[in-house]
Amino acid sequence: MTVSSQAIGGGIRSRIQGRFQRWLVRRVPPVREALLSQRNIFIFPSAAGLVFLFMLLTLLLTGINYENNLVLALTFLLGGMFVISVLHTFANLSGLVLSGAQAPSVFVGQRACFQLRIRDTQQRVHDDLRIVWDDAEPTIVRMQANAQLDLPLYISTHQRGPMRPGRLRIDTRYPTGLIRAWCRIALDTRCVVFPSPGPLTPLQRADGSGDDGLLTEQEGTDDFSGFRTYREGDPLRHVAWKTLARGQPLQLREYISQADRQQWLDWDHTATLGDTEHRLSVLCRWVLEFERDGSEYGLRMPAESIAPGRGDGHRDRCLTALALFGYSEPVA
């Protein structure tokens, strides 16, 4: 009986919560930039405010019982203060403009850093603002009139893919603490979370042929093959220091090696590695390895194929492709 009622209770709760979330989405939809106003600010007595109201009730009863007009007057004064506090607390939050920038990508497990920009448009000081994003520690800020503030907010990541931070909650009890005004803004920002690099596992062709599973364009050994002129981006360890010392232009000793080959990382070649996340992790590791070696590499995923290349931009494209694998979102 208890179990079933609990289940029902849980069901109702989750249904109500779901309803609330849907209502919230309708009421305060995700935006690039949000102006805090009566459209999105919620306001209610704080716990302290409720205790204060109880104290006022006691005071009212005292005034009535002692037929004491001054005690009544004081009750009304404090009641008036409570009402006026609503305006002050609201004013402390309204007129702020919040905007969020895209966060730089991180690997799973690292904390994503979102830059939140807060700007005052009402020439008012805003005091004691508590800003919380998800379960992160609240940040308490105070803003001068017309000020603009950039606030880094860190959120830990647990899953690869596009990450949208939950709703940002910004609340304040300033000045009296009797009233709490808050706002739950969904900022339209996101962060691409790369898969965490997995172990350096050899890749295998799906049909089992080939030794290391890497599809190479060129066969070769680690043999020295000659000099060529330095191009920007060439690995420094291949610079021919001796010729440089002789006063010749900067040259590179060319080897024919595994690292110099154009290589393809193919999704299909990871089929034996188990589940999707692990396969992505391994690919991620390979991308990082190749990038460190300075080789050119390409990535073939079921939906897209990235031509071989190298450099940070290329690496991020590949990692993003891995991160967004299985998500329908386009690459940002």
């Binding site: 205790v51 104290m55 009641g79 506090s85 017309n146 000045p175």
Partner: protein, 673 residues
């Protein structure tokens, strides 16, 4: 939510607590302040990191010690003073273990209540000012806790707190006026330690001289219609009919009537005295200051009076419960009446009784004089004449009298205050077998020149005599008036000269001879009177009258509508002030000025076309009026900056002024062109 409380917040809380507790010391034990100071000092050392929070044992010791002190001081825990003291104590003890924001709020809220409780003891204007100071400081403490330690100055929270409370004043006023005044919901403990003031329930030599040194207010009266003549301002309060040779006390009937008025079920109904009244009557309203006593003061024979009062068999008014708060009552009284045309025989014995063997000379003299006169009335007149012609001294310092106090007073020292004269006169009357009693109350009062009302002070306290004369009923005799006519005609001030309020050199009443002091004293008294009448005594009756005048008829719907409408308007006003559309207004002012510029050009035949921007219009105008081109460009530039590039709000007023000046100049130049 455990946080380190900021230093500012702590200091503000301490300041506010002191502001709340110190005014209470008038009614509560002084050691409360000591406990508070110790707790605050300890907590501050903790903040500085010098000491640690007291261990639990110490805290318990403090709590126990304080409760023991409370018990020793009050011997009970129910009642206004013990409860308030306990609350103050709780605030003090809680400060020592302030750890979190919640503790802080608990103390502040309790202190709000504590501040308000001061008004249960006394409701003078000064009290309200003190309490409001406390409230403002407490609110500042509340605010400071949200500001934390920052660059703003220490007084900043006070300014904001004052602002918020000022903004809530109109709301308070509306609620105060319309909130229904309900009857008490349950009975409550009243202040028990307050000193009783005014005449007490017995009269010994020296009692009234003591009252004569007090400048405290007893009550205020405003008359409907004309004031009775000054010599009739006798306010009857108590009647004494038992005499033991030194002290006068109320008779048994009187004491019994006090019980009966208070609704004691074992007391039967009070017998109303027989009275024959004439046509002249007066109606007045009295606001009696709290005296902790049961008697109300009345002029004349009360015909109609409030339900809070009860008429005694000796024609005095008894309050149904001790007057612990200001009591307002209205009386219609006859000023032309015969009280008890026939004396009840059973009470006659008490009324002529004198203790045996005391004051023999007075009794002997009385018997002699009674035999020389034809009737009771003539005897009384003879006695008064004797008082008037003998060199008696009317003084506030009569000295002390021995066992035969009346003999000593009448024939030897002859220095006395009203109670000596009344007592001596009564003894002489009784010695002549005339039923006589002493009436204690007040005589006189100060007429306020600004509004027609009397203020009666403790120094107006007076005792006189009533004797029963055949055919006239009870007749008032005032031997003091015979000795010192000034006392009755113009008051104690003139009757005793330098002795008046000798102990309180700062009392304004002392200096009524100096015009500015008299004016100030009357003004201040008037303010206090209005305070008592309009604020403290604003009750359902007055409320109905007032609201009836404003709303037509007082129905719940209309009241609710009035409250909501007033509240909405007032709140909207504050909101407007708060969200001030400053920038919009600036732009609006700029636009207005620019439009004036357009009108000026319009007079030259240059109309701004629909959809033509300021710069396009400026180009066209410049080519049409090459002489004014520079001015046109400048004005347009200023306007565009003000209206569209307003990222430098600090410079707005200067820019706006420049624009206004330029347009004015431009307009003038165009006109002269």
């Amino acid at each position: 939510m455990s946080i380190q409380l900021a230093r500012r917040a702590l200091l503000w809380l301490f300041a506010a607590l002191l502001a709340v507790v110190i005014p209470h010391l008038e009614y509560l034990p002084w050691w409360l302040l000591a406990v508070l100071l110790v707790c605050m000092a300890w907590r501050f050392r903790v903040y500085q990191g010098r000491w640690s929070m007291p261990p639990a044992a110490v805290r318990w010791l403090l709590v126990l010690g304080s409760v023991v002190l409370l018990m020793l001081d009050f011997r009970r825990l129910i009642g206004l003073e013990p409860t308030t003291s306990a609350l103050a104590l709780a605030c003090a003890l809680k400060t020592i273990e302030l750890k979190s924001r919640r503790d802080y709020l608990v103390v502040v809220f309790a202190a709000y209540f504590l501040a308000a409780s001061q008004l249960l003891f006394s409701q003078e204007i000064a009290d309200m000012v003190l309490v409001l100071t406390g409230i403002i400081m407490l609110t500042a403490a509340l605010i400071s806790q949200h500001q934390g330690d920052d660059t703003r100055g220490f007084p900043n929270p006070l300014a904001l707190s004052g602002k918020i409370l000022m903004q809530s004043l109109p709301l308070m006023l509306v609620l105060f006026l319309v909130f229904p005044r309900l009857a008490p919901l349950w009975s409550i403990p009243q202040q028990s330690r307050a000193a009783k003031t005014g005449p007490s329930d017995s009269m010994s030599p020296g009692d009234f001289a003591r009252l004569g040194n007090s400048d405290e207010l007893a009550f205020r009266v405003s008359f409907e219609g004309d004031l009775p003549s000054r010599s009739d301002w006798y306010w009857r309060g108590l009647v004494f009919s038992q005499f033991d040779g030194r002290t006068w006390r109320p008779g048994p009937r009187s004491r019994y009537e006090n019980y009966a008025a208070a609704g004691n079920p074992r007391a039967a109904q009070i017998q109303i005295p027989q009275v024959v009244t004439g046509v002249s009557a007066t109606r007045y309203e009295v606001i009696l200051e709290p005296s902790q006593q049961q008697w109300a003061y009345v002029l004349g024979y009360p015909l109609v009076y409030d339900d809070t009062l009860q008429l005694g068999s000796d024609a005095r008014l008894i309050a149904r419960k001790p007057v612990v708060q200001r009591l307002r009552y209205t009386v219609t009284a006859s000023t032309d009446y015969i009280l008890e045309p026939r004396l009840r025989e059973m009470s006659r014995g008490v009324l002529v009784q004198l203790p045996d063997g005391i004051n023999p000379r007075a009794i002997q003299q009385a018997t002699l004089w009674r035999m020389e006169t034809s009737d009771d009335r003539a005897y009384a007149e003879r006695l008064l004449d004797w008082f008037g012609s003998t060199p008696f001294v009317y003084t506030l310092q009569p000295g002390t009298y021995g066992r035969d106090s009346v003999d000593e007073f009448l024939f030897e020292r002859r220095r006395g205050f009203c109670e000596h004269y009344a007592s001596a006169f009564a003894v002489m009357m009784r010695a002549a077998d005339i039923p006589t009693r002493i009436v204690a109350g007040y005589q006189g009062g100060r007429l306020n020149g600004f509004e027609k009302y009397l203020s009666v002070h403790q120094y107006d306290a007076h005792a006189w005599v009533e004797s029963w004369i055949e055919g006239e009923g009870w007749v008032r005799f005032d031997p003091t008036a015979a000795v010192s006519p000034l006392r009755v005609e113009s008051g104690l001030n003139d009757a005793v000269g330098d002795e008046f309020l000798a102990d309180s050199p700062l009392a304004l009443q002392r200096y009524t001879g100096i015009p500015i002091a008299a004016w100030l004293s009357m003004r201040w008294d008037l303010i206090n009177y209005q305070w008592a009448k309009r604020v403290l005594q604003y009750d359902s009756e007055r409320q109905l009258a007032l609201l009836g005048r404003w709303l037509g008829a007082v129905t719940p719907t209309r009241m609710a509508l009035a409250v909501v409408a007033c509240g909405a308007v007032l709140t909207a006003f504050v909101a407007l002030n708060l969200f001030g559309l400053r920038r919009r207004q600036e732009v609006d002012a700029a636009t207005r000025t620019y439009l004036r510029f357009c009108t000026a050009l319009g007079r030259q035949g240059l109309q701004r076309q629909c959809g033509e921007g300021p710069s396009m219009f400026a180009q066209r105008a410049s080519s049409a009026l090459p002489a004014a081109a520079a001015a046109i460009q400048r004005i347009t530039e200023l306007y565009v900056t003000l209206a569209f590039r307003s990222q430098y709000p600090g410079r707005h007023p200067a820019l706006l002024r420049e624009l206004q000046r330029a347009v004015k100049q431009f307009d003038r130049n165009l006109r002269t062109l």
